[in-house]
């Protein structure tokens, strides 16, 4: 029971963090057809910006300004980089973001060093909130939960209840028609790209001190975010939300299951000392997202809730 409750809590928090990253990527991917390889790099930039700002002024200013900075960098990337490459097709755009991810990685290593930086949870939130089964639960994790849910609600309101959201939703599926109606589609693209990167930056601000802030954080989470977007489906934030929670829970539960293949398939005659028998479910956890990606693309290429194939 104890493991189940803790896995549930941690899994939901990890899933929400994934959703903060993937919501922006889903918007960008559905609208522009660009799978932004550098999206996780913007997440990393968010964490590092927050580290620098918070060491000067404090965490709360970083929470506001770091995502804005990342959003500006993202908008500039779209304006002066991606838009130029657009004429050469989607593969060129994908390769551009691939190179950009490379570049951001190296620049981060030069500016902030190769090792992880000491980006800490703010003191105000650094206390155990409640005790469950004799284990203290940190308040910061619940804070992540709140920020993620607040962002989710704000994004939902923005998209479903405002005029700007209406235009963005229309541009997701029918960019040409929106252009014909007289809207400045390139500017919408730039804005969405910037906002999407800012969301990734926000995820970095609150995830960087929860997980770890080092130059490898982009590479470690980037592919998982792709999986969320592909599994969730094109053009569907709801799908991305479900897929994030699903992956978050799946990975967290897999890590906590202490069983090996021999325990499960022992009745088939699989010995405990054989190489296959020794594989534990926990060690499979990092592979699960990719297994899911390959299966979804084979069985249901439009993802869980997507409105079209990739």
């Amino acid at each position: 029971m104890e493991t189940v409750v803790f896995s549930l809590l941690n899994g939901v928090i990890y899933g929400l963090l994934l959703f903060m990253l993937s919501s922006g990527l889903t918007l960008i991917f559905s609208m522009m057809g660009v799978l932004n390889f550098a999206h996780a790099s913007f997440y990393m930039l968010g964490a590092y910006f927050a580290y620098t700002i918070s060491s000067v002024s404090g965490f709360w200013l970083a929470l506001i300004f770091a995502p804005i900075l990342v959003g500006l960098v993202g908008a500039a990337t779209e304006r002066w980089g991606l838009r130029k490459v657009h004429a050469n097709g989607h593969v060129a755009e994908l390769l551009f973001t691939f190179g950009l991810a490379y570049l951001i990685d190296e620049v981060v290593k030069i500016i902030w060093g190769r090792n992880s930086v000491d980006y800490r949870v703010p003191e105000l939130l650094d206390f155990p909130l409640f005790t469950l089964y004799g284990t203290q639960y940190p308040a910061y994790r619940i804070f992540i939960l709140f920020v993620a849910v607040a962002m989710l609600v704000a994004l939902w309101l923005l998209l479903k209840r405002t005029r700007a959201g209406l235009i963005i939703q229309a541009a997701l599926t029918h960019p040409e028609m929106v252009g014909h109606l007289g809207h400045n589609v390139p500017r919408i693209f730039m804005t969405v790209f910037g906002v999407g990167c800012a969301l990734a930056g926000l995820a970095g601000v609150i995830g960087g001190n929860y997980l770890v802030t080092d130059p490898a954080m982009a590479i470690s989470i980037g592919p998982i975010v792709f999986v969320v977007v592909v599994v969730g489906g094109l053009g569907s934030l709801e799908g991305a939300f479900i897929a994030s929670l699903l992956l978050g829970l799946l990975q967290t539960f897999a890590v906590s299951i202490d069983a090996s293949f021999a325990d499960i398939f022992g009745w088939l005659g699989l010995g405990e000392t054989t190489e296959v028998g020794r594989i534990t479910i926990a060690s499979l956890a990092p592979m699960l997202p990719f297994l899911m990606l390959v299966l979804i693309l084979m069985v249901r290429p439009r993802g869980l809730m997507g409105d079209r194939d990739i």
Binding site: G33, L35, G81, K84, V85, N88, H90, V91, A92, L94, L95, F96, F98, G99, L100, Y102, L103, D105, E106, V107, K109, I110, I111, W112, G113, P223, F226, V227, V230, E275, I279, S283, P286, M287, F290, L291, L293, V294, L297, M298, P301, D309, I310
Partner: protein, 423 residues
């Protein structure tokens, strides 16, 4: 009417001289260069660089069968390279332990064939689910599969050897062409033989009906289907062949380095072969060859000069994607055609552009090098040509800002001139 049409078609076909110039001569030259290199008595390090280049040429050419010819962007091509290499290393192990029998008569020289079989087999298994879709879906599946296989590599120690990998010994079994494969000079002949042969075979592949159909599938899959071919099948067969040649390169690498680790299956080498091919020029057959030569040279030499060589690589890659999507081969071809069409005028603007880029590069290099040294924190100072460039000195900033402004301004000016001339 019909006579005229036939006549015109006959005229459209390349003449024998053209065929020789386009299809035979480059390979004769390539082979001649490969044969002539040892006459200059290269040093040990030169030999090991040449061997690495040979392996990367085959690897990049096999990747271009997918990217350039079939239009399939793969993020997991190193999987086939690695699996081919592992197959070759296991075969080398069997040769070492053979007591006569079948493996006792197999020369290590033939290991690239084992690699080819391993890579093609892996391609046949993995390609089956992934080749149904092209474009982004294919790219994503290749990424997922690469992550899966790389994770598996660390899991199954008896096949992949865990963290330290498995190693072999190339000096076993019967000798071919009198090569013991002991000294690196003899390994060079082995690499050169297989590089030339593989390049020839890959070129021959592009001339087969299947190779032609793969290009058609890249450009217009609907029409290919309409004409009666199955795009999935075409992609699948090309994928197997590309996997096989990647495995062949893996087999060459197994003999050259005598070791393989699960790292070789991961996303990093997959990304590197993508960069090599694209920087070289995916639209040209010679592009990947050029890319492999330039980038392997950069990898082994530039990394001695600067720690930030990956940053330069990223900058080069992004610049190529943005401004020269046909790669280095495209630049060379453009220079050749432009000079032939408009003569010296083209050469002049081209030279002006090179000068502008070089000026801007000075600024970038000073900035990066000073920043790298500051970030290391050892108090080391960047001292090119006897200058003493500390992070705080005004000279440093002048050397960063002035060249950048002058270089980029000049490039802008040139681009505007060209636009006006074009309009």
């Amino acid at each position: 009417m019909s006579d005229m049409a036939t006549e015109n078609f006959a005229n459209l076909a390349p003449s024998n001289a053209q065929k020789f110039r386009m299809r035979v001569l480059p390979f004769v030259l390539f082979a001649a260069v490969a044969v002539l290199i040892p006459l200059f008595g290269p040093s040990r390090s030169a030999y090991s660089l040449l061997n690495a280049i040979g392996i990367n040429i085959v690897f990049a050419l096999s990747y271009n069968m997918l990217l350039g010819r079939a239009g399939l962007l793969s993020f997991g091509h190193a999987v086939y390279f690695g699996l081919g290499g592992y197959a070759a290393l296991h075969a080398m192990g069997m040769i070492e332990n053979a007591d006569g029998g079948f493996w006792g008569s197999v020369p290590v020289f033939a290991m690239p064939l084992v690699g080819f079989a391993g890579g093609a087999l892996a391609g046949a298994v993995i390609g089956w689910p992934s080749c149904r879709r092209a474009g982004t879906a294919f790219a994503m599946i290749s990424l997922g599969v690469a992550e899966l296989i790389a994770a598996m590599g660390f899991m199954f120690g008896s096949i992949f050897g865990g963290e330290e990998g498995i190693s072999g010994d190339r000096m076993n079994g019967p000798e071919v062409f009198g090569l013991s494969l002991g000294p690196i000079g003899e390994v060079y002949w082995f690499i050169a033989f297989w590089t030339v042969l593989a390049a020839l075979l890959i070129f021959a592949f592009t001339r087969t009906p299947l190779g032609r159909m793969s290009e058609a599938t890249r450009d217009n899959p609907q029409r290919v289907e309409f004409v009666g071919y199955d795009p999935t099948r075409v992609r699948y067969l090309v994928f197997i062949a590309a996997g096989g040649f990647a495995g062949l390169a893996g087999g060459m690498s197994a003999v050259n380095y005598e070791i393989f680790t699960p790292e070789a299956l991961s996303l990093l080498p997959s990304g590197f072969v993508l960069i090599m091919t694209y920087v070289g020029g995916a639209r040209y057959f010679a592009g990947p060859v050029l890319g492999a030569i330039v980038l392997t040279y950069m990898q082994s030499n530039l990394s001695d000069f600067t720690e930030a060589w990956l940053l330069y690589l990223g900058l080069l890659f992004i610049t190529i994607v943005m401004y020269a999507p046909n790669g280095l081969a495209g630049i060379v071809a453009g220079l050749w055609n432009g000079t032939r069409a408009t003569g010296m005028a083209y050469l002049k603007t081209w030279a002006a552009r090179v000068v502008a880029i070089a000026i801007a590069m000075v600024g970038v290099i000073v900035l990066v090098e000073v920043a790298v040294r500051k970030s290391n924190g050892y108090g080391e100072v960047f001292e090119p040509f006897g200058l003493h460039l500390t992070p705080g000195s005004p000279l440093t900033w002048a050397l960063v800002i002035v060249p950048l402004i002058v270089g980029l301004g000049l490039l802008r000016h040139l681009a505007r001139d060209e636009q006006e001339a074009g309009a």
